[in-house]
Symmetry: C2
Subunit: 330 residues, 2 copies
């Protein structure tokens, strides 16, 4: 198993990315390819006593930032660490690719350098969200703001295959359609037509799902247009942040609450970890011809290591082949 | 001040609605008109020792339920408690109307019985959401799933006037546009065109707002199409419910956490109240020619009482007149 990692993607690059790659090498034994400034990476590794054995470095000095317009990855920044990694993946130089860099650039680069699976109309950004019933997938979560019913149907197919193979040991993954109510007639044309397609399909479709029921894990795969998917994902993040902030304030109210907090806090850390996306490593880009994982922009070593593990799993279980077959049959 | 209340709307009707109306009468001295089954209301009042003095009852036996198709309020259910109340409002029999019944039926009834303000293309359902920075308004929150830029612009205008007059003592109310990123170029055509309209207007426009920043109160008014507004509102509700559930679980972990919980719980109740929509009484229907407030379906007496107070305030400060003038000028 050989995984390429964009060493210069994300807020904590390159140090945390290099650490995560070194940890993944040690824990899983994968061959790792880092793209980025070789001299700097070697210096950082030496400074932090990180062993680069089993890790190859493909040297490049350019970096695409969050402020760069995504399409510049194809021209002005075609030799940035992300583009170089994607090209290497496209050429068959590895099994999977991980980046914590700009989502827009990664989508653009993956679509035009690695290319889409034949028959897939648009790749989707598939967020993996933790819940009490286990992680579930929300797609699209921001790549495709305007969607047609056929696109949502394809998202459902791809998401269902991914969740079944990567997250559920081949058990079927249920699909729900994000909507403003659970009744079949709810929503707009997009929802009506997608509902009809999903109902006719062989996927385990649980029907319309209200946003209220999504955080608790209403289905393994929640299908939405990228605008409302993005709104859902970010509202969830913002609400969790706000509430944990309020609870911290409560702890500081007086001496009694401060003492009480000592007994509650360890469990609250457990809760924070439960709700953290770190464990699941990042969001797969579904519909791209090779496994690409978008790690969170603020990913630290642990999240990068997990993203590498998930990217390898993505490749190992053959999701792309299954998507290719399923799209062909439609 | 005379407020009509649909005594048979909502999950806890008629008892809680009647209680709320009686409390509002006692606390604010408004004249109250209850629509619904007079015999039953009088019996309930007697059973629970509620004084109906100052409260008029307009007798009707039909009720429109959550399962009825909204448009039946105009024909099959034209004599339900909600329709009778709306007709009385339209005819000038009172200053404002409150119902905790079916949102769809209320929108349909308000639009066709009370009618729209001249020049308003579509009334919006404007949720009032508590935050650390005070309550803010999210509109549309589910009435208009497909929106045009001019509609969102009108929502902004109406919401801004309402928040300024009813919630901020005439201070200007800021407006933000729900989007997938804060940069001006983010979003789809709907957001681009609405952004341009808002930027050119005299409203205090804070630009695009990400869903992540909405729960903490990023602006006094958040403008969105009804689909994504509904997704935001319900994700917020679902996430708060899920997290408070987790925290309850933590309290029950062991003896230490149970004791600690005794000190934390009173503050947590305060937090729950802070996040509760009860205090703000319900969602105004903006764009309708008279003040109509949709109380939450599960509203109890306290929420109904507050909804009546807000409905009266809605009438007293002359929001409808201001909206009428502002729409005329466009």
């Amino acid at each position: 198993m050989r995984v390429i990692v964009d060493a210069y993607g994300g807020d904590n690059a390159p140090l945390e990315v290099v650490k995560g790659a070194v940890d993944a090498r040690a824990e899983y034994g994968f061959d790792i390819v880092l793209t980025g400034n070789e001299e700097e990476i070697r210096r950082i590794a030496e400074e932090h006593k990180l062993s680069l054995s089993g890790i190859e470095i493909v040297h490049t000095t350019d970096v695409i930032s969050m402020n760069d317009i995504p399409k510049t990855i194809l021209r002005e920044h075609k030799d940035c660490s992300m583009a170089v990694g994607l090209r290497l993946l496209a050429e068959g130089g590895a099994d999977a690719f991980v980046s914590a860099g700009s989502t827009g650039a990664l989508l653009m680069g993956a679509t035009f350098i690695v290319k889409r699976i034949k028959g897939v109309s648009r790749p989707a950004l598939a967020a993996i969200i933790p819940s009490d019933k286990g992680p579930f997938m929300l797609l699209d979560s921001g790549a495709n703001l305007d969607c047609r019913p056929e696109m949502l149907f394809q998202f459902a197919r791809m998401g269902s295959l991914y969740m079944s193979l990567v997250m559920k040991n081949g058990e079927p993954a249920t699909v729900g359609l994000l909507n403003v109510g659970t009744e079949e007639h709810k929503g707009s044309d997009l929802q009506h037509e997608t509902y009809a397609l999903l109902k006719e399909s062989d996927m385990p479709f649980v029907g319309n799902v209200e946003a209220r029921d999504v955080p608790a894990g209403a289905a393994d795969v929640i299908v939405a247009d990228g605008f409302s998917g993005n709104v859902l994902l970010k509202t969830l993040e913002g609400t969790v942040g706000m509430l944990l902030g309020y609870i911290k304030q409560i702890f500081y109210t007086n001496l009694c609450t401060k003492i009480a907090a000592l007994f509650i806090k360890p469990h609250l850390s457990g809760l924070k970890q439960k709700l953290s996306t770190e464990e699941h490593g990042g969001a797969p880009l579904l519909g791209v011809a090779k496994p690409v994982i978008k790690a969170h922009g603020n990913a630290k070593a642990r999240a990068i290591k997990n993203a590498i593990r998930v990217a390898a799993e993505f490749s190992r279980v053959g999701v792309i082949e299954k998507i290719t077959d399923s799209v062909k049959g439609e």
